[in-house]
């Protein structure tokens, strides 16, 4: 026995038995087609032990130091009927969903009160070798509330596979605004699973800015429902995949009603033997007239062995819709490289310039200046020969 079987056997309840019976998804589950599950199955996963920290953090499947900001309510109440339904929907998708449901013990519920404005900084601490933590976070943004949620991941190295799963439900009541910044530079043995299920009511707006270059394996399942008129969503994402990393984002934006807008911009940069999957689906239902969507997906391959699996899906059933989309896969432009080299830049510096430019288009969109700076700095550390650009930024930026 390996994977989660022993743990599930110990838990021994109805959900655990279901998860055990179904097992981890195989290649035959379409949405898990490319996910390398061997590492997951090979480790005998144990419950991770929460660590002490002073920050608001997720560690060992527990939230610690939950903030008590003005405007924020923390509750242990049970989920609403609709929240439970949404969570069950994630659970029932496949065997990993069932495993998440069975091994999650706490649900943290945070409510941003009516018209209040709150900033939350959530740190994800690394779990110990061969251990895993499962948690769920429910966020309710009341009418007119504003929330900035910044998630960061501890990068301290762990010598063996470690895993963290967070399923997050957010409900944005009318006129609320959530800016969600996710910066994932986790340790290179981490297996990270993130589910985001967002519901935007009338005139609510959800903006996600995500930059990911850490972990061994990361899988993000994002579903955004625009279920009230004038609701909008924007997603700006960058994944840098190197070595033998695997990054996978499955994103669906569902225009449930009309007069809604969405924007999806995602870039993958893949080097080494890395593999990245991006599935970007926009659904505009039959009666969702006067909706607008913009989708742009760009993939940059930097080595012969790098792989990328981009899949844009536009499903438009309404007729009065504005939609644009584009998906490119390519390597660095030879003409641009030649131009830079003809000015005396070495091949490696010229490549670093162009890689930086590709990534910067997304990083530049991060609305939180401190985080943007932090991400830029780390990004330059991540790029081969990024130090030249770091030095230039320091010396001549105004």
């Amino acid at each position: 026995m390996s994977g989660f079987s022993e743990w599930l056997t110990d838990v021994n309840d109805v959900q655990a038995s279901k998860a055990l019976a179904v097992g981890l998804p195989t290649k035959r589950v379409e949405s898990w087609k490319y996910v390398p599950t061997r590492g997951l199955a090979r480790t005998t996963w144990q419950p991770a032990v929460p660590q002490t920290t002073r920050q608001f953090a997720l560690t060992g499947g527990q939230f610690v130091n939950v903030p008590t900001d003005n405007g924020l309510t923390v509750s242990e109440n049970t989920l609403t009927g609709s929240e439970q339904e949404r969570l069950d929907g994630i659970s029932q998708a496949h065997g990993f969903g069932l495993t998440q449901a069975a091994l999650e013990d706490t649900h943290l519920i945070l409510t941003v009160q009516r018209a209040m404005s709150v900033v939350l900084n959530l740190s994800h601490l690394a779990n110990q070798a061969s251990s895993a933590g499962f948690a769920a976070l429910i966020i309710r943004a009341e009418a007119g509330a504003q929330l900035t949620l910044v998630e960061q991941f501890e990068s301290t190295n762990v010598e063996k596979a470690n895993l963290s799963s967070l399923r997050c439900l957010m409900t944005l009541e009318r006129d609320s605004l959530v800016t969600h910044i996710r910066f994932q530079a986790a340790n290179t043995s981490a297996h990270l699973f993130s589910n985001l299920n967002i519901e935007c009511c009338e005139n609510a707006s959800y903006r996600l800015q995500t930059v990911e270059f850490g972990s061994k394996l990361a899988r993000n399942d994002i579903y955004i429902a625009l279920s009230g008129r004038e609701a909008s969503a924007s997603v700006n994402g960058l994944a840098i995949t190197n070595g033998s990393q695997y990054h996978d984002t499955h994103l669906t934006i569902d225009h449930v009603v009309g007069d809604t807008t969405s924007e999806m911009t995602f870039r993958n940069m893949v080097d080494g033997k890395g593999e990245a999957t991006f599935n970007g689906r926009v659904l505009i239902r039959k009666d969702s007239q006067r909706s607008a969507t913009e989708q742009s997906i760009a993939n940059l391959l930097l080595s012969k062995n790098a792989r990328v699996n981009p899949k844009p899906e536009l499903e438009i059933y309404a007729d009065d819709v504005t939609a644009s989309h584009g998906c490119t896969v390519g390597s660095l432009s030879k003409t641009e490289l030649f131009y830079l080299k003809s000015r005396g830049l070495s091949e490696t510096d010229a490549r670093a310039f162009l890689q930086y430019a590709f990534a910067e288009a997304i990083v530049d969109e991060i609305e939180h200046p401190d985080i943007r700076k932090l991400v830029e700095t780390q990004l330059l550390g991540e790029l081969k020969h990024g130090e030249l650009i770091a030095e230039l930024k320091d010396s001549v930026d105004v």
Partner: protein, 247 residues
């Protein structure tokens, strides 16, 4: 400084340069004229090291080195600079990053110390003034959204900063208004020196009125068919290439 001997080059299966011979001594300005598609840009690109072109025969000796053996960046380090007929836009890379990185890369290979930010800014402001360019161009992405004329000025700005030994200027005058033509022409003149040579590709005598060439060559169908002094350009202006070929 530069000896081109029997240079043949092709793109794919298509021969473009069919035996170019050209001697350029230090301090000389050579104008290359010729009909569209005759191979002028191909010649400059081959000299700058663009890999789309395959050299099938001949050799190029630049300051005692076999130029064709060098990578494009090595040619830049050795003092070769090409002003592109179509300057390349590089979204996401600020002009000032490229300028500073380029200046210091070339200084390093000339055994000079790296310019610190303040020294570099002083230098670049000086050159901007010469080119009558606004400082805002430094903080825009390389050539992105620049007008045709602004791109050409930016090329000459780079040349001013990099101080090449051999400048290959491919139609740097095309698309310039009268005032810009004078600025660019004078920018080139400022660079003239006994140690520096210029290969000037142009279609118009206007630029040659400002930058007086020592020699004028006519490139037709991949070969230099005619060479002469400044008066050849005047004759071309009057008679056109057809008149000259017929003669």
């Amino acid at each position: 400084m530069l000896s081109i001997r029997n240079l043949h080059a092709r793109v794919g299966d298509k021969p473009i340069l069919k035996g170019i011979d050209l001697e350029v001594n230090a301090g000389e300005v050579h104008a290359i004229m010729g009909p569209n598609g005759s191979g002028k840009s191909t010649l400059s690109s081959v000299l700058a090291g663009r890999e789309d072109y395959e050299v099938t025969d001949g050799e190029v000796i630049y300051m005692g080195q076999n130029l064709l053996d060098l990578e494009p960046e090595e040619r830049a380090w050795a003092g070769v600079f090409m002003s592109f007929q179509y300057p390349v836009e590089i979204p996401g890379v600020k002009n000032i990053y490229l300028l500073k990185a380029a200046v210091n890369a070339i200084r390093e290979h000339r055994g000079l110390t790296e310019l610190k930010a303040a020294e570099f800014l002083k230098l670049v402001r000086e050159k901007l003034k010469v080119m009558q360019m606004d400082e805002a161009f430094l903080h825009r992405n390389v050539n992105e959204g620049f007008s045709g004329g602004e791109k050409k000025r930016n090329e000459i700005l780079q040349m001013q900063l990099l101080e090449p030994t051999l400048a290959l200027l491919d139609e740097t005058d095309s698309g310039l208004d009268v005032d810009a033509l004078r600025v660019v022409g004078e920018g080139i003149n400022r660079m003239r020196s006994p140690e520096r040579s210029v290969l000037l590709v142009t279609h118009y005598q206007r630029l040659l009125d400002i930058v007086k060439p020592d020699f004028v060559h006519v490139l037709t169908q991949g070969e230099i068919k005619l060479s002469g002094d400044y008066r050849l350009a005047e004759r071309l202006e009057r008679e056109g290439y057809e008149g000259i070929e017929a003669a």
